[in-house]
Subunit: 339 residues, 2 copies
């Protein structure tokens, strides 16, 4: 088992879910050290029946750690995680900062586990909207080579942090009462609205979130020839990201074949019964660890096209679950540990 796990960002929304998972699934580690910014240092965290005092994150914090799990803003990951690597720790990072660096492994355990095992430095966990796209594409790509992908996302406010959730709930209350509300997290009202911008705009007219889907999908699937475009939209949903995906494969994949491929792929659950109106929806996936797929059908616009709809809990498989699964994968490989 691991000697000492350094855990950075335990007080955030994703950090809390990770801790709960590490406890429940009895993650094999002797000791934990909880680290956070000066603002959260000194707080108490109860974990495995023990009270821990959160320590302030410094360059020396990682001494003695053989595993570091971090869920922090990009800047914190940029500034501090290299010290964790220097200290000799295996580092799993939830932030967006390191994902696309050439020496960094970007891993979804069901898709490219070997990249985590081969990693010398940081192992990054992907963007919450890239994850359902990649996991659904993987079996299609293996079976029929995916050539082109068009993605449109329906993203929940929880992806924007706790402030996003406050904005949705308080903004919606105010809208229903017809009273004013000043949004803190979103630059436009999110209550009863759709905002076609997540992240900042780049020169090519795409947002950073859209480009994450493009670049991270290629990196995780290990195929830079894959043509992919994305439109990311924030909608008034508390939790659970949905994606509408159109795929073009080298040879036609029928909906029946796709359904079979998805059904046998690890981490995917097919909910797809038009006769009874069954398909995945954000309200139903909260608290679940898989990616749910439905609305599987032929793309009417291309002979080799396929359309589907996928939904995941963005805080869990889109973030916490994936990071914990990477840690477990390494524990399995290194210590022969079994969940």
């Amino acid at each position: 088992m691991f000697e000492l796990v350094g855990f950075v960002g335990a007080t955030g929304a994703v950090g809390r879910i990770m801790l709960e998972m590490l406890q429940t699934r009895k993650f094999p580690a002797k000791k934990f050290r909880f680290l956070a910014s000066a603002r959260s240092a000194g707080k108490t965290i109860r974990f495995n029946g023990v009270d821990y005092i959160v320590e302030e994150l410094t360059p020396e914090s990682f001494r003695g750690c053989d595993l570091v799990i971090a869920s922090t803003p990009d800047e914190t990951a940029r500034d501090f995680l290299p010290y964790a690597v220097q200290a000799g720790a295996t580092v799993i990072d939830e932030s967006g900062y390191w994902r696309m660096k050439p020496d960094v492994a970007l891993v979804i355990p069901e898709v490219n586990p070997q990249a985590a095992l081969d990693a010398q430095g940081i192992i990054a966990s992907p963007n919450c909207s890239a994850t359902p796209v990649v996991m659904a594409l993987k079996p299609l790509h293996d079976a029929a080579r995916v050539k082109r992908v068009v993605v449109t996302t329906f993203q929940a406010v929880s992806g924007a942090g706790l402030a996003g959730t406050v904005d949705l709930h308080e903004g919606t209350r105010a809208a229903l009462a017809n009273t004013p509300y000043k949004y803190e997290c979103f630059s436009h009202p999110i209550a009863f609205n759709a905002i076609p911008q997540i992240g900042g705009f780049k020169d090519n007219g795409y947002t950073s979130e859209e480009l994450k889907i493009v670049h991270e999908t290629r990196k995780i699937l290990g195929d830079d020839s894959l043509q992919i475009s994305a439109t990311c939209v924030r909608i008034p949903v508390a939790n659970g990201h949905s994606v509408s995906v159109t795929v073009e494969t080298e040879r036609p994949v029928s909906p029946e074949e796709a359904r079979a491929l998805f059904t046998s792929a690890p981490g995917l659950v097919v909910i797809d019964d038009t006769a009874t109106g069954q398909y995945p929806m954000p309200l139903d996936v909260t608290g679940k660890d898989e990616v749910f797929i439905g609305r599987i059908r032929k793309d009417l616009s291309h002979p080799n096209g396929l359309c589907f709809w996928a939904v995941l809990d963005n805080l869990r498989k889109g973030a916490a679950t994936n990071a914990v699964q990477i840690a477990e994968l390494i524990a399995k490989h290194r210590f022969g540990w079994q969940a």
Copy 2:
């Protein structure tokens, strides 16, 4: 001017907007007759300062009408509008029933006005989600021939009628208060959720709403070779439909060219400034009569591809405004009338 306008469905959400527009824009008609189902017959409607008693719709209701405007459920349109045609009236229908019949004109005045002027029988107004797609495609199709289109919609509850609005507001109130609410209009909770089904499912796995976009777009643009696919999703927005569109044209159309084409197209308004975070959103379009376009950019997945986002007030340009504009087009043509 018209001698007698028969107006069916004046008490519905779309009917009310049409009446308000006919008044404000001083529609050229000597007399009006208001018709509705037995349930609404006997109600009083104030129009142009006069109180009208709503009469029960019967096969004889259209006697003497030279124009009939109808906003009713499909079944009512199916059962009664042939009598209006028999009575010699020009018939403008908001319902979905007649749109795809070979002898029926399906018209967006900015796109195919001549079809309305040539029509012998019913003139249908298109589906509220097809309208923004068609209006945006038209200038692209004229300039560079559109070959393939992939559409994903974000649809407001007002498109499901007044019961949809009640479900959204009451369901949201209940969700915020953590109390139960029984949805009347939607088969799944719409509060803080996304439902990837609008209309019933067909054998090919598509919903009726998705196939309306496919078939109506082809019919209005007059091009059956156009390859098009759609995914329609209901989201917790009160009013205003948004569409994420990816288009492939015969030759590449740059975002700059597309912006110029959209800007000079009638009925389209471009709101597209990434530097200041300007793009159309449903909350901003309510009460407006145009289709608003933004997020215009190169499709990263295809050399001849273009992506954009369009939003419209589905009750106005998606329904009422378009029908009134058809009536005005005919008034212009027949009587030289000017608004």
